[in-house]
């Protein structure tokens, strides 16, 4: 039994950004106050979430309940290892993204709306992470959909409206699937709790189990950009860069992946899924997506589109790892939430900085940018190396444990798939780096990049911190008190193991 | 002997009562069909008044004088006047 402690910190962590959103809406056009509130809330939330880490590592579980939303289904928070890990990632990245956004968004319109909904998004993301049961999770999950909508819509032009509509259609459809799955689940089990290692059992009947599995996985799969439900993600790149960061790293896709992990580890449970064999199909799908999305990324000419397809490919790593149903693969799945997030956010930040600094958006326009923005491009290099899977980088850790997990599961084929994917990754990241550093700046008349606007240090700073963290996650993964140990705890819980992995 | 005659007489009387009702109901039906078919609104109103009056007879015959009175006053009286007033304002023919 894990000791459960009633603690108000989970609630506070959610409320901080909610209050921040309220304050941001209240101060309206006073930029200084807006910045102050955003940063203060980000800092407080960061502190709150990290303060729960030692306790969680010591095996404590913090809970906070409001009461019942439906008979037998409470509305409450429960901070277990997996949830805290996700919350750590998103609250840490919120600090960085806020700083970056303050720089990037300067001079844009409707900023109070932007920062207000930004804060709301983080609030709901932490709510998703800490949700005690599937219904609470769903509440925040749908709120996240709604709160992201104004952000994607931010530019208010035709492209933005199209992208936002696409996003909504997909995610609402996904939400509907989850809702239907939840109703089924509740009607056969009478509970929606996420505190157990599986609330379903084989007595429920095969067709019900299959229906629940399909509904939940497909429903969460929409936000997790599981092909063929991914089309909203490349479309949504029209949004401002901080929003892309939010979508791809901090909140949205991660919420979808988190939902899939919850479905696998907490709703079905490892043992049941292994008996049913559904996970094999999911793994196969993930393997296919991994390669297809990488090929697609290779074909993209715009930087952000390439990044978007890369996200789709990277997310399928997590899904694959989770679907392999071995402890080490589970560890890979969980740890990759952080690894992918930090690497991808670095890339998006860099793409945004390049756009701001030089106005360039396309892959073939990168020539010479490395000389103009050396620090930025160095960070870009680090992050892409991480994706390729170079040792000492964050991405390598994932691939290492994923390979071990795949071999454990007797599915060596996925190691091969991973290698192919890694090669493809190399094929689309390396040329960009090559262009940026080794090609001379084209000298176009009338477009002298040497007199370009200076990129604000509020954008460069977060980029460098993120890049540093990519190395830290890779090189110092197993240092004590790092999130890594938390991920390990989460994996141990899912497999009901007492001893450390490895 | 007398008993059976009384019974027979009674039966006949019941039959006569029923017959009276049947005639009234037939008249009612005729009026209703007429109202549905006529195009002259004023004629409709008058026929409606007749309908109400027949219904009033049915009530009275069935032993409900209160209802009969109401039917006579409201159905045959007031409603007809109101219909006629409205018709005088909007024209007689159905379009």
């Amino acid at each position: 039994m894990t000791p459960e402690l009633v603690d108000i910190r989970p609630l506070l962590a959610v409320l901080v950004s909610l209050a921040c959103a309220g304050a941001v809406f209240a101060v309206r056009h006073r930029a200084r106050w807006r910045a102050f509130w955003s940063l203060a809330a980000a800092g407080i939330k960061f502190a709150l979430v990290w303060s729960m880490l030692p306790g969680a590592l010591a095996g404590r579980v913090y809970v906070y309940q409001f009461g019942e939303l439906l008979p037998g289904v409470a509305f409450g928070f429960r901070v277990d290892a997996l949830g805290l890990f996700f919350a750590l990632v998103s609250s840490t990245l919120w600090v960085l993204t806020t700083i970056y956004a303050l720089g990037y968004m300067r001079g844009s319109h409707s900023l109070h709306r932007f920062f207000g909904f930004f804060a709301l998004c983080i609030s709901t993301t932490v709510g998703i992470a800490f949700a005690e049961n599937l219904l609470t999770l769903f509440v925040f999950y749908e709120l996240l959909t709604i709160c992201t909508y104004p952000l994607i819509m931010h530019n208010e032009d035709l492209a933005a409206r199209r992208a936002a509509r696409k996003y909504l259609v997909y995610t609402l459809f996904g939400g509907g699937l989850i809702l239907a799955g939840m109703v089924l689940l509740h009607s056969v089990t009478g509970t929606l709790s996420l505190a157990e290692t599986g609330i379903l059992d084989a007595s429920v009947g095969d067709h019900w189990l299959l229906a629940i599995f399909l509904l939940l996985i497909a429903g969460f799969g929409v936000k997790a950009a599981l092909m063929p439900l991914h089309a909203w993600l490349p479309a949504a790149m029209v949004a401002p860069t901080p929003v892309s960061a939010l979508l791809h790293a901090v909140a949205v896709v991660k919420a979808g992946v988190f939902g899939i992990l919850r479905t696998i580890y907490n709703v079905f449970g490892i043992d049941l899924l292994r008996d049913l064999g559904y996970a094999d199909w999911l793994a196969m799908l993930a393997g296919v997506i991994m390669v297809v999305a990488s090929v697609q990324a290779l074909r993209q000419k715009e930087i952000k589109a390439r990044l978007a397809w890369s996200t789709i490919s990277q997310l399928s790593y997590i899904v694959l790892a989770a679907a392999l149903l071995t402890p080490l693969a589970a560890l890979a799945a969980i740890i990759h939430i952080a690894n992918q997030a930090f690497s991808k956010i670095t890339l998006f930040f860099v793409a945004g900085a390049i756009e701001r600094g030089t106005g360039r958006k396309r892959v073939d326009e990168l020539a010479g940018v490395g000389r103009l923005m050396p620090w930025t491009m160095a960070a870009f290099t680090l992050a892409s190396l991480s994706f390729i899977g170079v040792p000492l980088m964050a991405g390598f850790v994932t691939k290492w444990y994923l390979s071990l997990g795949a071999l454990d599961a007797g599915a060596g084929i996925y190691v091969a798939v991973m290698v192919i994917s890694g090669l493809l990754n190399a094929a689309y990241w390396l040329p960009m780096i090559h262009q940026a550093f080794f090609k001379p700046l084209p000298s176009e008349p009338g477009n002298d990049l040497r007199n370009r606007p200076r990129v604000s240090s509020m954008m460069i700073g977060p980029i460098l911190v993120c890049a540093a963290y990519v190395i830290l996650l890779g090189a110092g993964a197993s240092a004590p008190s790092m999130p890594f140990s938390l991920a390990e705890a989460a994996a141990r819980f899912a497999f009901e193991l007492e001893v450390p992995l490895e | 002997m007398t008993g059976s005659v009384t019974a027979k007489y009674r039966e006949m009387r019941v039959n006569a009562t029923d017959l009276f009702d049947l005639v009234l109901l037939a008249l009612l039906l005729t009026c209703a069909i007429g109202i549905a078919r006529l195009k002259d609104l004023a004629a409709c109103a008058i026929l409606f008044s007749a309908y109400s009056f027949i219904l009033c007879l049915v009530w009275a015959h069935r032993g409900a004088p209160d209802v009969a009175m109401t039917e006579a006053a409201v159905g045959a009286g007031i409603t007809t006047v109101l219909f006629l007033v409205v018709i005088s304002r909007v024209g007689r023919r159905e379009k």
Partner: protein, 493 residues
């Protein structure tokens, strides 16, 4: 010290007499008439709440009107269905507050007192309808709220309003006749008009005339409730009426039709073989209504017409719940009736405030209003999302329970219907939100609009908050209606 139960007839009498007095006392003083109506509605609400507390405290109770015992006299009773009088009174109260400025523009000054009188009488009719335990009395109160509703639709100045009211009147009168006829049949079969006695007698009676009465009552009340194939009067009437009236109609008057159906089901609860086919029919008609209403709402350009069609959809949900006849589905349907009432009146009032300020009712014309009328627009956006059934807002509880009931009854396809309809509702909700917040103003009236007066935005805001609070209070509400939901169908599973 007056006996508690005396307040039960007063619940209906107060607004009825108060309404009748309004044109007498305040014919040429609209503001005073409004104040009077609001006061009467407030006192009625207090009475209703007190009765509810009493009900929660010590169970249902009844009142013998005139001191005559039930079979001879009329029995009023307070039960879980009658408790709907609380939201009814409160919603009418808020609509009356809202009316203060709205009616000044939408209704002729000389008729404003009539308007308030009709609203109060409507409330009295609703309250009486909810608490009566007598079949004929049910019909009488139905006539009161129906006749006042027809008139209220017609008070709007737009020319379409009188046509819509006429349509409503014709359908309504036909359905009333059907109900009256069936009441007569029930009386002929049982010799009593008391609902409980009649139910006991009907359980033993021969199927054919009982089936006739059941069909008549169900059809009659279904027309009042705007169930799918007989819903076509609703969109026009609800869209054409003055906005506060639309709120009352959509929130309460159609719900009274549903209460009528509930009473019918209670009446025939013992006659299982009759009820079963009807319930099946109701489920599928409800499903068609839910989908059709939602889709029709999606293609509307007029905001009030859109809301009116969404009422058809929600009535569909409620009928699905009633027809499924499992405890959770029926309690879900009952809770959804209340929750939808709150949400829909918030929406109609918000739409009314927008129309009042801009004179525009086309969704595309309302572009950019979000910045001009922040509170109203927020209320509308929030309740639109609540309407779709997103947790933890009020629309969710009922739909969830109905979906659970559908699974228990072995109809998984109904879950799909509910989910799809919910998504469609959210889709048109988003369309409105888009127009309000993410598009530049297209009309001068919008660009120069300002926030509605407090008498308008305050009710909207209160209802918005209520639409969240009721969602969070889902469990106590379900527990409250639970016993009633279980007992309505007698012996059914």
């Amino acid at each position: 010290m007056i006996e508690w139960s005396h307040w039960l007839p007063i619940l209906a009498m107060l607004p009825l007499v108060g309404g009748a007095l309004t044109p007498l006392l305040f014919r040429h003083r609209p503001a005073a008439a409004c104040f009077w109506a609001v006061s009467v509605a407030s006192v009625t609400s207090v009475v209703a709440i007190a009765l509810l507390l009493r009900l929660v405290d010590s169970g249902g109770f009844s009142y013998a009107v005139g001191g005559w015992l039930p079979q001879y006299g009329i029995e009023l009773r307070m039960d879980e269905v009658g408790a709907f009088a609380v939201p009814a009174s409160l919603l009418v109260l808020l609509s009356l507050v809202f009316s203060r400025h709205y009616v000044a523009r939408a209704v002729d000054a000389s008729r404003v007192s009539f308007y308030y009188a009709l609203v109060l009488i409507n409330l009295g009719g609703l309250n009486g309808f909810l608490v009566t335990g007598d079949l004929f009395n049910l019909f009488v109160f139905m006539e009161i709220f129906s006749v006042s509703a027809y008139a209220l639709v017609a008070t709007a100045r737009e020319p379409i309003a009188s046509l819509a009211a006429l349509k409503y009147l014709l359908l309504g009168a036909a359905s009333s006749l059907l109900v009256l006829f069936s009441v007569g049949v029930v009386f002929a079969m049982t010799g009593t008009l008391n609902l409980e006695d009649a139910a006991a007698a009907l359980a033993l009676s021969s199927p054919m005339p009982a089936g006739l009465a059941l069909a008549g009552l169900a059809t009659g009340f279904a027309v009042k409730a705007a169930l799918f194939p007989v819903h076509f009067w609703l969109p026009d009437a609800h869209a054409a009426a003055p906005a506060p009236v639309s709120a009352v109609l959509s929130a309460l008057v159609v719900k009274a039709g549903i209460v009528g159906v509930l009473r019918t089901l209670e009446l025939f609860g013992g006659a299982e073989s009759l009820l079963q086919p009807l319930l099946h029919l109701v489920v599928w008609l409800g499903a068609l209504g839910a989908l059709g209403g939602a889709l029709m709402a999606l293609v509307q350009r007029d905001i009030k017409l859109m809301l009116a069609y969404s009422t058809v959809a929600n009535i569909g949900y409620i009928f699905i719940g009633l027809g499924l006849a499992t405890a959770s589905a029926v309690s879900g349907a009952m809770v959804h009736a209340v929750n939808h009432a709150v949400i829909k009146s918030a929406l109609f009032l918000a739409a009314g405030a927008m129309i009042h300020r801009t004179g525009l009712r086309n969704i595309d014309d309302l572009r950019g209003l979000g910045r001009r009328m922040p509170v109203t627009a927020f209320g509308m956006a929030f309740t639109l999302i609540a309407l779709s059934g997103a947790p933890p807002m009020a629309g969710f509880t009922g739909k969830w329970q109905i979906a659970l009931g559908a699974l228990q009854a072995g109809h998984p396809s109904l879950v799909a219907v509910l989910v799809i309809a919910g998504i469609v509702v959210l889709a048109f909700g988003i369309r409105v939100i888009n127009a309000l917040y993410f598009r530049p103003p297209a009309r001068v009236a919008v660009a120069s609009a300002t926030e509605a007066p407090a008498s308008m935005w305050l009710p909207v805001l209160m209802l918005t908050i209520a639409s969240l609070a009721l969602g969070l209070a889902g469990t106590p509400m379900l527990e409250f209606v639970g016993p009633a939901a279980q007992s309505i169908y007698g012996t059914l599973p």
